[in-house]
Symmetry: C2
DNA sequence: GAAGATAATGAACACCTGTACAATAAAAGT
DNA sequence: ACTTTTATTGTACAGGTGTTCATTATCTTC
């Protein structure tokens, strides 16, 4: 079954208007009324499609996350993967974040809701889950699989948070280096 | 210099009113107007002290985080700490989270702003930073210290997120066990 | 306890929010 | 092309937001 043309038109107008407004102001300062005025959509119609402005933004971010998922699906799965033989190019996540930096700056902003964070988290987590499941030989020392994955997935986001706080100044190659060292254990003594 | 009594009275009324409202409804559904009505504070006065309802909530959470910080400051520092000789009771963070479960459920809610998350993150991160700095002998394999700490700090929150998603069903003892295994490396083969 | 400083109040303003409903417009199905 | 179905519109309403300003109340300080 096809979607009504009017719906497509309405939603696209709103999404396009949001991008336009984001060029000059922050997501939090954009009101539904303003968005509808620019998109030339009746405000009542807005509520037939979205709950709030974040809801419109979410669409873009879901496309972005999907782009990431597809781009790194294959190389990831082809590796006999386990948590200790990972190479940086398998999870070229930093390239992805840099590519959509403008969006990730919004997502990691203190005022943004946690939903976006969870979307990133769930995506990375799922990647790890699928990859680690392939590596049947590994036994993870009685660590519950759910906790293991959540631990490592969020650790990676920890690097992205640090990168964000440093305003994305660290080069991607360095980040990949560091990540690989952190994953394949971290400590040595002099 | 002392704080004006009127200010103390106003802020306390608002904070108390928030706690009352939180018993019956969620943080997002509480309006400034409603809060002021219950606290018997003029709405204009509200804006002299807080920016929004979250701002009032933040006060409570800062107290909670401070409680955590103080409770685990000493045992942590007394240990010749490094990332591999940690014991669960050093970071008894899960006990803390359980104690203030009602608050952490709000903080990890998808609608809550990232600010609270960052407050948790910064606190755990600072703990790690202070502790790891003591362990002068360790060299962390050319891993940038900032990234190292952010990585491990956020990993721990990864466990809390998983715990939250499982509705805090996993017992604390198990969580401590798993955490220690995850920190002191994770993998073995059959 | 009086004088000066500062905070709280009430009223008003323009704007935003979420919802409802009848009227209209524009698709889809035949 | 015509009918049916469905989406959009305009209007209205009760409430919330954030700000301003003169007035009043309450604290602090001496």
């Amino acid at each position: 079954m096809k979607k009504d043309l009017r719906i497509i038109k309405t939603e696209e107008s709103l999404r396009k208007a949001l991008l336009t407004l984001l060029k000059t102001k922050t997501l939090e300062t954009i009101s539904i009324s303003e968005l509808c005025r620019l998109a030339q959509i009746n405000r009542g119609t807005f509520y037939l499609h979205y709950r709030d402005v974040h809801d419109v933004f979410r669409h873009y971010f879901e496309v972005i996350v999907e782009d990431f998922r597809k781009a790194y699906e294959k190389p990831y799965l082809n590796t006999n993967f386990n948590i200790n033989n990972m190479t940086p190019d398998m999870i070229d996540i930093f390239n992805h974040v840099k590519k959509y930096k403008a969006f990730y700056q919004i997502i990691f902003d203190g005022k943004s809701p946690m939903t976006y964070y969870y979307l990133v988290f769930d995506t990375i987590r799922k990647f790890m889950e699928e990859s680690l499941s392939i590596d049947n030989n590994a036994v993870y020392l009685d660590v519950d699989f759910d906790y293991l994955i959540s631990y490592h997935a969020n650790a990676i986001i920890g690097i992205i948070i640090e990168w964000h706080k440093q305003n994305y100044t660290t080069p991607i190659e360095i980040l990949n280096e560091q990540l690989i060292k952190l994953i394949t254990n971290t400590r040595s003594y002099r």
